[in-house]
């Protein structure tokens, strides 16, 4: 089934086997024939699949970060992380309010910790 196609400049991924992990994952996890096995593995949750793809394919994720701590720090996935983020934002705002109320130095108080996450 590998027909050699001559033609216009083919894109780089062209060939019987792509090396793109996302392409392979979405096919082997989510496609193909499903028959009941003796050993039940729940691979078909699409949302989880998407999350896994984010985990495994994103070039900015390090292998170490792809561990359990990632789940705990992504606000989209963890209400605890969301609360944590809110608390941090609250603290930043409080600091600024304090700085403003001390306000005789209009604007001279360089806001601390302005760095986004």
């Amino acid at each position: 089934m590998t027909d050699v196609v001559s033609g216009p400049a083919a894109p780089p991924a062209y060939g019987p086997a792509t090396t793109n992990l996302a392409d392979i994952l979405e096919r082997v996890l989510d496609k193909g024939i499903v028959i009941a096995g003796d050993i039940k593995i729940d691979l078909l949750d699409i949302e989880l699949l998407t999350i896994r793809l984010r985990l495994f394919v994103s070039s900015v994720e390090t292998a170490r970060k792809a561990g359990i701590d990632w789940w705990e720090t992504d606000p989209a996935l963890s209400s605890r992380a969301a609360r944590h983020e809110l608390r941090e934002e609250n603290e930043r705002l409080r600091e600024r309010v304090t700085a403003l109320e001390a306000g005789d130095a209009a604007g001279s108080a360089a806001p601390k910790s302005e760095a986004g996450a």
Partner: protein, 266 residues
């Protein structure tokens, strides 16, 4: 689990990769599969043959899989190994891939399950014979958030010209973004419609989001799979080139794939 700790049946599980009609043992012998040191082999059932391998049962429990799914290197290894065996088997003739992690406690147990589905496998093999799957992705530039030229208009008290200009700029940016967005979606629909006309079957897959692709400068607006005959492949490649030229979008083609997306399920 069964209660024979020393029986080979409890030591090894049977992993099923794919089903075909005739498999060439020589082709399979070159494949590693998921467990080093255990051959990838054919398991006949009725008129068909499954591609299987014995794997250590203890490493393939549901718990082990859950762990594996959160271990990047390990999941990648398994996905690629599964795909390599499926692709290798397909060199022998029409092959239907099974989803990752289809496991049985023994060859006999696997055979019983497969036999029960013989008709379904045979029908799918008939339908897919002579076809291959091709993946097509369309990307457009990520809309660059153009910064409005900050013409520091002198803030005069009469007229509010600065305010109005600011709103106009905002509106202009918004319109430009919407236009870019609409055009991107239209390109995706047009490319898909054109390629569907060439294909025996077509499916839209979920486009990969920027956090999956890690791409900053372009956005994937189409991720689709097309089932093609050998004749259709050339047409598909030509059409991809045409749309590339016509729209300036990146149209990426991958294939031929074993028809994972067309085995007739979700």
């Amino acid at each position: 689990m069964t209660a024979h700790p020393d029986a080979p049946e409890t030591a090894a599980a049977t992993y099923v990769f794919a089903v075909g009609r005739r498999l060439d043992p020589a082709v399979l012998a070159g494949l590693t599969g998921l467990a080093a040191g255990s051959p990838v082999r054919g398991l006949t059932f009725g008129p068909l043959t499954a591609v299987v391998q014995h794997v250590p049962a203890a490493e393939f429990t549901p718990e082990a899989w859950q762990e594996r799914l959160s271990d990047r290197a390990e999941l990648e290894r398994c996905a690629r190994a599964h795909h390599e065996v499926v692709t290798g088997a397909a060199a022998c003739g029409p092959t239907v891939p099974l989803a990752l992690a289809t496991l049985y406690r023994s060859d006999d147990s696997a055979r019983r399950a497969l036999i029960a589905d013989t008709h379904r496998f045979a029908a799918t093999l008939d339908r897919l014979e002579g076809h291959a799957e091709w993946g097509v992705k369309v990307w457009v530039p990520a809309a660059a958030p153009e910064r409005p030229a900050t013409t520091a208009a002198p803030s005069r008290r009469d007229g509010g010209g600065a305010g109005r200009a600011y709103l106009e700029r905002k509106r202009g940016l918004h319109r430009a973004r919407e236009h870019h967005h609409d055009r991107a979606l239209r390109i995706a629909e047009d490319v898909d419609a054109a390629l569907r006309r060439l294909a025996a079957a077509a499916r839209r897959l979920r486009p990969h989001t920027p956090d999956m692709t890690g791409e900053k400068d372009r956005v994937q607006v189409l991720n689709a799979a097309y089932l093609m005959t050998a004749v259709g492949e050339k047409e598909l490649l030509d059409a991809a080139e045409t749309w590339r030229r016509r729209t300036g979008a990146d149209v990426e083609v991958s294939g031929p794939w074993v028809p994972y997306s067309f085995v007739g399920e979700g």
